[in-house]
Symmetry: C2
Subunit: 122 residues, 2 copies
DNA sequence: CTTCGTTATACTTCGCCGGATATAACGGAA
DNA sequence: TTCCGTTATATCCGGCGAAGTATAACGAAG
């Protein structure tokens, strides 16, 4: 069991964003959305779980689908509560690759990050 | 010498940002600003070189100075054309650590990044 | 002591992005 | 065929950050 020392700050960490000309193609938010869609099978549920409006989730999905060579998310409508959203194989690939990038990056940065982190204001 | 194959896109790459609660403490922009200040010795020159307004550069410096345990940039005013800005030892440390994080991260992400990149729309 | 280019900071305006609202389209279930 | 919850999309509006304007403070140089 780790002693938390006395560090009250929670959400300070490096985040990776893939950008093209001021547009964020893929970042932590979109990755979490993809993951939630994959797990819950719908836009609405994913949006609710992440605490964002349905519209925002839908617009993010649009950006994702248009930003890559092929759609990452397939959506179907119709049916009371049977609307569906799922990741295409490419969507799964993109999500997996992004997670790999996050993991590997974080591991590689760890020593420098620990030192930098100690310099941040409390 | 590397053949550029036939890829016209230039500025697609992963960028690292250190955030705390929606505020960006340090990212590519602020790092470049620190570097320019160190090289040119003044806010004005640095702002001009980076194509941003003096005010913006000054506000970024303020954020940087307040976001860390001690100021990263020292500024002196007065003297026709003799105003100065320079990095404190801590400023140099922070910049160096960020660059190390960038380098190590990019190296670690490279394989996954190459695959992900090929999936981005042309 | 005047000049001048820089740092420092308040104020105001403008653009635009986010979110809320509203509504249509869809199709499985009953 | 009707109901209903989801996806899909246009439209409107407010708040907030970016940027411009203005002005003060400063101090080396001459």
């Amino acid at each position: 069991m780790k002693k938390r020392s006395s560090r009250p700050k929670a959400t300070i960490r490096p985040r990776i964003r893939i950008t093209r000309a001021e547009d964020i193609l893929l970042g932590p938010g979109k990755a979490d959305l993809l993951e939630a869609i994959q797990r819950l099978g719908g836009l609405r549920g994913a949006a609710d779980e992440l605490g964002m409006s349905y519209m925002r989730a839908w617009k993010l999905v649009q950006m994702l689908n248009r930003g890559f060579r092929a759609p990452l998310v397939l959506t179907e409508r119709g049916g009371a509560g049977h609307g569906k959203a799922s990741l295409t194989p490419m969507g799964k690939s993109v999500l997996a690759l992004y997670r790999r990038m996050e993991t590997f990056s974080l591991a590689a940065m760890k020593p420098a990050w620990k030192r930098l982190r100690s310099l941040i204001a409390p």
